[in-house]
């Protein structure tokens, strides 16, 4: 691709310090920090949707927020449209905040409950001077219709809307500043299946019509597969496998990806007889296993996995962080 990518993240490390206890203060020590993101590199091309999947505590939402400049990285760089957040002066940061927006899982907690939907959107338009004051009302209506909400919704408050309508309102507000990049953090996790499908279709339409670049963070693999061009599978703060969605789903090379895919319930006509596909739970980020961090739950772990695992390239832009990524899969 000749165009430069929209987003380049290199070797990103984000730590959260635990508060120091009295004993720590007396002895002058610092408690160990929790490393939520541990050396993540990823690229999102212009107009592309990258899906970020993983279980709770894998660090996927932390990455989403770090990209927006909401967390200060311990190490590594985040370049958006060619520039790092820290390199921008105040005026440029304001522009940056317009170019990149985030939509959260629960729009109920991100919309002001006292503000009518129309006012919530108008406030954004006014603050960022997106349109002249005289055109604000018309722009609000345009945005509502863009996300498929009737004009009457402008006069409603968040509690009067259904979950799907609130998510649409949240989207309208994010789109008000005409961003080029959307971070979607579990945008449909709180919605019923029939409403989820409506919102996913809306997101696909918006991406096409507005040429949006997206980082789609979700735990549900079917939803991510549906939305993403490429996929990154996270576990305990690291990307375990990344590649084109089709390749990763058709031929997963990391045992964790395979476990995730087999654990998803399938439509079937036969009741399950099998045991669970994984044992145990994701280890604490305070106590990350040495070597490959998945080895404590991995069905194919070998002694070599206790040392640092290499990255193995298994196809065009398809990479898995496993010693045996290139090995054939046992049926």
């Amino acid at each position: 691709m000749s165009e430069s990518p929209s987003l380049v993240v290199e070797d990103l490390v984000i730590e959260f310090a635990k508060p120091r206890s009295l004993a720590d203060l007396v002895t002058g020590t610092h408690p160990p920090a929790v490393r939520a993101v541990d050396g993540v590199s990823l690229t999102v091309e212009n107009g592309e949707t990258l899906g970020l999947v993983g279980e709770s505590g894998s660090g996927k939402s932390t990455i989403g927020k770090a990209i927006l400049g909401l967390y200060r990285p311990k190490r590594g760089t985040i370049h958006f449209e060619g520039k790092a957040f820290a390199e921008r002066d105040e005026r440029e940061q304001a522009v940056f905040r317009r170019r990149m927006q985030i939509v959260f899982q629960d729009p109920y907690s991100s919309l002001n409950p006292r503000l009518k939907i129309g006012s919530a959107i108008a406030e954004v338009l006014r603050f960022h001077a997106i349109v002249p004051p005289g055109e604000i009302e018309a722009e609000v209506l345009r945005l509502l219709s863009l996300v498929g909400l009737p004009a009457a919704m402008a006069e409603r408050r968040p509690r009067e809307l259904s979950g799907g309508q609130r998510q649409r309102a949240g989207l309208a507000r994010a789109l008000a500043v005409r961003p080029s990049f959307l971070v979607l953090d579990e945008p449909v996790a709180a919605l019923d299946v029939s409403i989820q499908a409506q919102v996913l279709n809306l997101l696909s339409d918006l991406r096409r019509e507005l040429g949006l670049t997206m980082l789609f963070v979700a735990h549900e693999l079917g939803v991510v597969r549906h939305m993403s061009d490429r996929l990154a599978v996270m576990y305990l703060g690291q990307i375990m496998e990344t590649g084109p969605s089709d390749a990763v789903f058709r031929d997963p090379r990391h045992p964790y990806t395979r476990a995730l895919l087999s654990a998803v319930p399938k439509m079937t006509t036969v009741k399950r007889q099998r045991a669970a596909v994984t044992q145990g739970e994701i280890p604490s980020p305070l106590n990350i296993p040495s070597g490959c961090r998945f080895r404590t739950r991995c069905p194919m772990a070998q002694p070599v996995c206790e040392t640092v695992p290499p990255e193995i390239t298994v196809g065009p832009s398809h990479v898995a962080r496993c010693h045996f990524a290139a090995a054939p899969v046992n049926p």
Binding site: D192, V193, S194, V264, K266, M267, V270, K271, A275
Partner: protein, 333 residues
């Protein structure tokens, strides 16, 4: 044919509100045989959880008003039991596991004590014996080094471990029927997988029946023998899981199945069900799904629905089940 373990006949649950009585369950009839798993699927507000709570009579009245021809469990009509008798049914004959384990466990009480409590009540064990049995049950539900963790508090456990503890508590009474209301919805997919396998193992060992409430059709397809699909407080389709999920006879079931993004199908446009679930307080007299139904006709908006029997032990509330086949033809063309 043997008598079913649970037989619900014409159960309705209303809630008195300022806008009049809202019917959250409307004329529900269903049976659960000993040892079988019945899945109840439907969207938020369809009345799935209310049904579970009505069976256990956990709904305070007022505002709830429960009426039924019968609500019989193992030969007893639950609606006629005295409060003390009902208390011995809860936990002992019928146990329940809720969606969020955090709210089912007492945060200031060690988990072991919470499991022991059930053993002392239901099995009459002494303190030491109950503690020992609690450790055994916690081990059985997959808590590693249970003897070391029995005195932990809920906050020290992950969501998956807490749900295991709640299942352990439910098993203390050796129930004949387990009501599992979205037991894995709050959990990660690998943990959901573990909990579903655990529930099915426990079911095989104990021979108990399960009513599994879920919004996830795939979960139901992997675990249930029969399925009831609920919409706006009514059962709109009922029958063998495999038959319903492969050849639905109600346009709502059909739409739900088609709107799920699948792992093995590359992206395209998802089929959707237009509109939103109705407001239960302002339901029109006809079929509640008619305003969203792609094959509805004028009669659907006025004719009240009844669950009609179809061949193969199935039932549908659709006035025109033959039209569901048209939907497939439309989709194919």
């Amino acid at each position: 044919m043997t008598r079913p373990l649970l037989a619900i006949e014409d159960l309705s649950v209303g809630f008195r509100t300022s806008r009049g009585t809202v019917l959250a369950n409307k004329h529900l009839s269903l049976t659960v045989a000993a040892g079988e798993t019945l899945g109840i699927v439907g969207e938020s507000g369809s009345g799935k959880s209310v049904l579970c709570r009505a069976i256990l009579r956990l709904l305070p009245s007022p505002p709830a008003e429960i009426t039924a021809k019968s609500l019989s469990f193992a030969g007893h009509d639950l609606l006629k039991l005295k409060p003390a008798e009902m208390r011995s049914v809860r936990g002992q004959d019928i146990a329940m596991v809720f969606q969020n384990p955090m709210t089912s466990l007492n945060p200031v009480w060690p988990i072991g004590d919470q499991v022991s409590e059930g053993l002392r009540i239901h099995r009459g064990l002494g303190k030491a014996a109950a503690r020992k049995a609690a450790i055994d049950i916690l081990k059985r539900v997959g808590i590693p080094s249970a003897e070391l963790r029995v005195d932990d508090y809920p906050y020290q456990w992950s969501g998956g471990m807490m749900q295991r503890a709640v299942i352990a508590m439910a098993m203390t009474g050796q129930p004949k029927l387990l009501l599992a209301d979205e037991p894995t919805t709050a959990l990660d997919v690998t943990i959901q997988d573990q909990i579903l396998s655990l529930l099915m193992e426990l079911q095989r060992e104990a021979g108990m029946a399960i009513i599994l409430v879920s919004h996830d059709m795939s979960v139901v397809s992997e675990t249930c023998d029969r399925v009831a699909v609920m919409y706006a407080g009514s059962i709109v389709e009922l029958g063998e899981a495999a038959a319903i999920l492969t050849a639905p006879k109600h346009p709502y079931t059909h739409g739900l199945l088609r709107s799920i993004p699948h792992l093995d199908v590359p992206s395209g446009r998802l089929a959707t069900i237009g509109g939103q679930p109705p407001d239960l307080a302002t339901l029109e007299p006809g079929c509640p799904f008619a305003p969203r139904c792609p094959v509805a006709s004028a009669e659907c908006r006025t004719l009240p629905i009844v669950l009609k029997a179809l061949p193969g032990g199935r039932a549908t509330a659709c006035h025109f089940p033959e039209r569901v086949a048209d939907l497939d033809r439309q989709a194919a063309s």
